[in-house]
């Protein structure tokens, strides 16, 4: 296992290194001098020079890159130009909300998939199968902000049962029942595509599993189909479904930007959206690197889980 990890790490480091270089380079390409933006229109050349020096912009590009990367690695992220304050404290404030939102949507996605997948695989009613196929296609294909606006329109405006956006006025931890009300729509919206992909995968692998000889044996012995699915077949297909789930978590990152924007949820997604609109590049830079990092690490973790389950990958024999 450790050898597998060691073999994977160099390429991971290479991708992350290249991505960081790319992000750094891209942000440097932006026209306009951050120092004069920061100093304001009335500042004299001395003030601008002082700010340039303070930000390290008078150093060579490689030195600036090294300084920035060193800062990121030691969680010394610097200051935000426009939103204001320390970037690390901005991240800290948003991260909690985003983690709450994404974990809620993960729970919803897994719950929906584990119910809908087996139902889809084992149903004998054509209308139900068509319905599930149709809903599944829509859920996979519709962008998160489309379902988000639709939910707001239906449950927030036409039939006002849930708050249309924002966070509870007294904070997320004050009253769990209110928090759940605020969380329900954004989390559902974020969960939908994930649930759909997972349910489709579960259904397809369950159909394959149901043609195994042991299922025929169990059926012949008089075990009910439902029991075979829930007790035997589902358990056999769950491990590989984990991999699918892991691969899809990356889409949650992009989805979070949209969902947090639609529902005014003050997380990292909304932070990056605001930072890009306000041209607060140090914040954009750090958030971009962070999301690439999380994305790549999740992919690695997924591969590791897969390798744990499948020795052929771990030992690298076939490839």
């Amino acid at each position: 296992m450790i050898r597998y990890l060691v073999r994977r790490l160099p390429s991971l480091a290479m991708v992350l290194g290249a991505a960081s270089l790319l992000i750094f380079g891209v942000i440097r390409l932006i026209p306009g001098d951050p120092a004069s933006i920061l100093a304001g229109p009335d500042a004299g050349p001395d003030t601008i020079a002082a700010i340039r020096h303070e930000l390290g912009l008078d150093q060579s590009l490689p030195a600036q890159y090294a300084h920035w990367l060193g800062g990121v690695l030691t969680w010394n992220l610097g200051r935000s130009y426009i939103i204001g304050g320390d970037i690390s404290s901005l991240l800290g404030a948003g991260a909690g909300n985003t983690v709450l939102l994404t974990s809620a949507s993960l729970v919803i996605a897994v719950a929906v998939a584990v119910i809908a997948g087996p139902l889809w695989a084992s149903t004998r009613r054509p209308w139900l199968e068509h319905l599930l196929t149709g809903v599944n296609t829509l859920a996979i294909a519709l962008p998160a902000f489309v379902t988000g606006v639709l939910l707001i329109l239906l449950l927030g405006v036409l039939l006002p049962v849930l708050p249309s956006g924002g966070v509870p006025p007294d904070g997320l931890l004050a009253d769990p029942t209110i928090t759940v009300q605020y969380l329900l729509m954004p989390a559902t919206c974020l969960a939908l595509p994930l649930a759909a992909v997972l349910a489709r995968y579960l259904a397809e692998s369950l159909r394959t599993e149901m043609s195994q000889p042991y299922v025929a044996t169990a059926l012949a012995a008089g075990v009910s189909r439902r029991r075979i699915v829930t007790r035997h077949a589902l358990r056999n297909v769950l491990p590989t479904s984990l991999t699918v789930l892991g691969l899809q978590i990356g889409t949650l990152l992009g989805g979070a930007v949209l969902v947090e924007t639609v529902f005014a949820w003050p997380g990292l997604g909304q932070l990056i959206e605001q930072a890009i609109i306000m041209r607060d590049y140090p914040v954009v830079q750090v958030l971009l690197l962070l999301s690439v990092g999380v994305f790549v690490v999740i992919q690695l973790l997924t591969d590791v889980v897969h390798a744990l389950l499948d020795p052929r990958i771990r030992l690298g024999g076939a490839r």
């Binding site: 891209v26 890009i276 954009v284 994305f295």
Partner: protein, 306 residues
């Protein structure tokens, strides 16, 4: 598809087939069943998808005829009106007709999607073919693709527009950058697989030039998965395009786009609930149509392969 492949290959001047028989066998898996293989888009799901996409495109092209007002026209005394016969979807926060803005919004989005996706597909396929032929190019392009794929789609979009600023062209660039690795990987893998097939090896053994084999045997067989990916990519591009417009890094106002109309509607749904309905329906129909086409093509390939 089959017809154009055969016709195209036959029309290539100066290509000397090494033997009379090989091209006929190789020209595709189609000729034996001409009726069956030609029509996945003209029946069932494929047809439904095609009609949905075509309807949206027609609505966009005919926007000047269909729209009751100009997209940027501000109408007196018409602030956030609900639906009425004058304004079927009501009016927006600066007194513009929402239906007109939605119809004109289709044009920008459709233009971006239908130019950028094919461009990305062509460039990506070229990269795929090149990297399947030359080892050095392979290493370089694969590493570039690795880095491109390390960015979640919307994050890549945000990074690129940080440099270029918002606009229609940046959206196109983002779509191309997203499609490059998809088509590149797909074509590379498919090309490598086809080159191992017996009839291709036979052609090579008979001394057929590499470029001829590539054009005559490999590309026609790679075309089908590329078509499926094209339909899926269209759906993905509608997503990215409207998402970028939605979060405000797309087409600049006051030019309407589906995403920006939808974004503006969120804050005003209480005054005019119909505000969001137009873009919601159009985006849903476009995305669903592309998905149906992709499903029909995939099902057809699966049946043919079986």
């Amino acid at each position: 598809m089959t017809d154009t492949t055969v016709a195209g290959a036959a029309a290539v001047p100066g290509s000397e087939p090494p033997s009379g028989d090989v091209p006929v066998i190789a020209a595709g898996n189609a000729p034996a069943f001409p009726g069956r293989r030609r029509t996945p888009l003209l029946r069932g799901r494929g047809l439904t998808g095609l009609i949905l996409v075509a309807a949206v495109i027609v609505a966009g092209v005919a926007a000047p005829l269909l729209a009751p007002y100009a997209p940027e026209e501000q109408i007196r005394n018409a602030n956030l009106l609900g639906p009425s016969w004058q304004h079927l979807l009501g009016t927006d926060e600066v007194n513009r007709d929402v239906l007109s803005r939605t119809l004109y919004g289709i044009r920008v989005d459709a233009l971006i999607v239908f130019i950028a996706v094919p461009a990305g597909a062509v460039l990506g396929s070229l990269a795929g073919v090149v990297s399947s032929q030359f080892a050095v190019a392979d290493v370089v392009t694969q590493r570039v693709f690795d880095v491109l794929l390390a960015f979640p789609a919307l994050i890549l979009a945000i990074g690129l527009t940080a440099v270029t600023g918002p606009g229609a062209v940046p959206i196109g660039v983002v779509v191309v950058a997203l499609e490059l690795p998809l088509f590149g990987r797909l074509v590379r893998t498919a090309t490598l697989a086809v080159r191992e097939l017996p009839f291709v090896r036979a052609a090579e053994a008979m001394g057929a030039p590499r470029s001829w084999v590539l054009r005559r045997h490999v590309l026609p067989n790679v075309a089908e998965p590329v078509l499926v990916q094209l339909a899926l990519s269209m759906s993905g591009a509608v997503f990215i395009d409207s998402a970028m417009n939605f979060i405000g890094i797309g087409v600049r106002p006051p030019t309407p786009s589906l995403g920006s109309v939808l974004a503006a509607s969120v804050a005003n749904l209480h005054s005019n609930p119909m505000y969001a309905v137009g873009p919601l329906i159009v985006i849903a129909v476009l995305v669903l149509g592309c998905q149906l086409i992709a499903q029909a093509l995939t099902a057809d390939r699966r049946r043919a392969g079986a």
